[in-house]
């Protein structure tokens, strides 16, 4: 176990976890902000896909 089993450990775990969570989910947000660029690849014809299946 990396974190000590004490109140200090719980505080430490909470601070690291909370900050890392914000960093990581912000990273996901940045990736999603780039998603509109995918549309430059072209457009999928939904009707055609549905008919093919």
């Amino acid at each position: 176990m990396i974190v000590p089993d004490s109140v200090y450990g719980a505080v430490l775990l909470s601070i690291i976890d909370f900050i890392l969570s914000i960093v990581m989910i912000s990273g996901v947000g940045i990736v999603l902000a780039l998603f509109p660029l995918l549309n430059r690849l072209g457009k999928l014809d939904e009707e055609k896909i549905r008919q093919a299946s």
């Binding site: 990396i2 505080v11 690291i16 989910i25 990736v31």
Partner: protein, 376 residues
Amino acid sequence: MLNNILEFLQAMADQTGISHFWWGNLVMIAIGCTMIGLAIVKHYEPLLLVGIGFACIIANVPGSSLILPGGLFNYAYKGVELLVIPPLIFFGVGAMTDFGPMIAHPKLVVLGALAHLGIFIALIGAKALGFSIHESGAIGIIGGADGPMAVFVCVKLAPHLLPQVAVAAYSYMALMPLIQPPVMKLLTTKQERLIRMKQMRRVSRLEKIAFPIVIGIVVNLFFPPVAPLITMLMLGNLFKECLVTERLYKTAANGLMNVIIIILTVAIGSTMTADKFLTFKTLEIIALGLIAFLGGTASGVIGVKIMNLFLNEKINPLLGSAGIASVPIAARVSHIVAAQEDPENLLIYHAMGPNLAGVLGTAISGGIMLALLGVK
């Protein structure tokens, strides 16, 4: 002769459950009945509470073989214990979910982490009350308001607390329409609640197909401890969005989901035996769970207010509380509170973005917690 008859009757009674029945069983049976009553009368999460309540009743009838090794409820619990059931729940949820609002408004994704401060308040509180760090982590994750994730993390960190953690998580999720609004109103002004959000852009099919693939890769790369859940969520979503697997996504979202809910609910209910559940620790866990929900709601709202200090285009702070993962209950609560001020303010679609991000946020928090605690 009379003695022999009495001995026979005594031996027979010993083989039934009657001789092992104690007041704790009666209390738990009453709790089980209350759950079923709430589901039927108040419509609080009936799909969950009926199964949990019934299994709780049966688990507290001494002599019931369903919860013993070899019994059906015991096999259901094995599915939870071996972490088969929670990923399958996520699979079904993925097939039922449109991630469009989250993709359309990436700025709101960060609320999926901000609204989880409650997890850490409960974690520190649990540790201060004398729980071990692993138990504290399992209790804290209740604040994520994500049932399957709470079950998953709890089984990994402190499986003996599963009944309390699962009951607290699912009960508070059902009670969110009562828990969240007072906090939301307390922390916002009328002007803030009246803020209208700009129309979102339309998300293309290509983006919706790319989303589960990208997130599947990211989660497995960075958060292996919780990857099974999010990976299955993304698989279910890919089945839905790719348009060529309609039969599979409909099965995942309907038939399979229903089967898994039945298994999950009887598994949780069957662990609610009086000897395990009727302890002071249960009351502490229930109280910490409530603090976690209140803290998460507050941190989400305050998070938006802080973001608004730096944004030209203001965000309605009521969206902050939707960052709690419980989909779509938290989003619906945001919409209802906003509609009380302005019935034409349709916040539901906007609230779904942070709400869905909350699922990822809980998974990320849980994954980091498992990694820091050295649990694989």
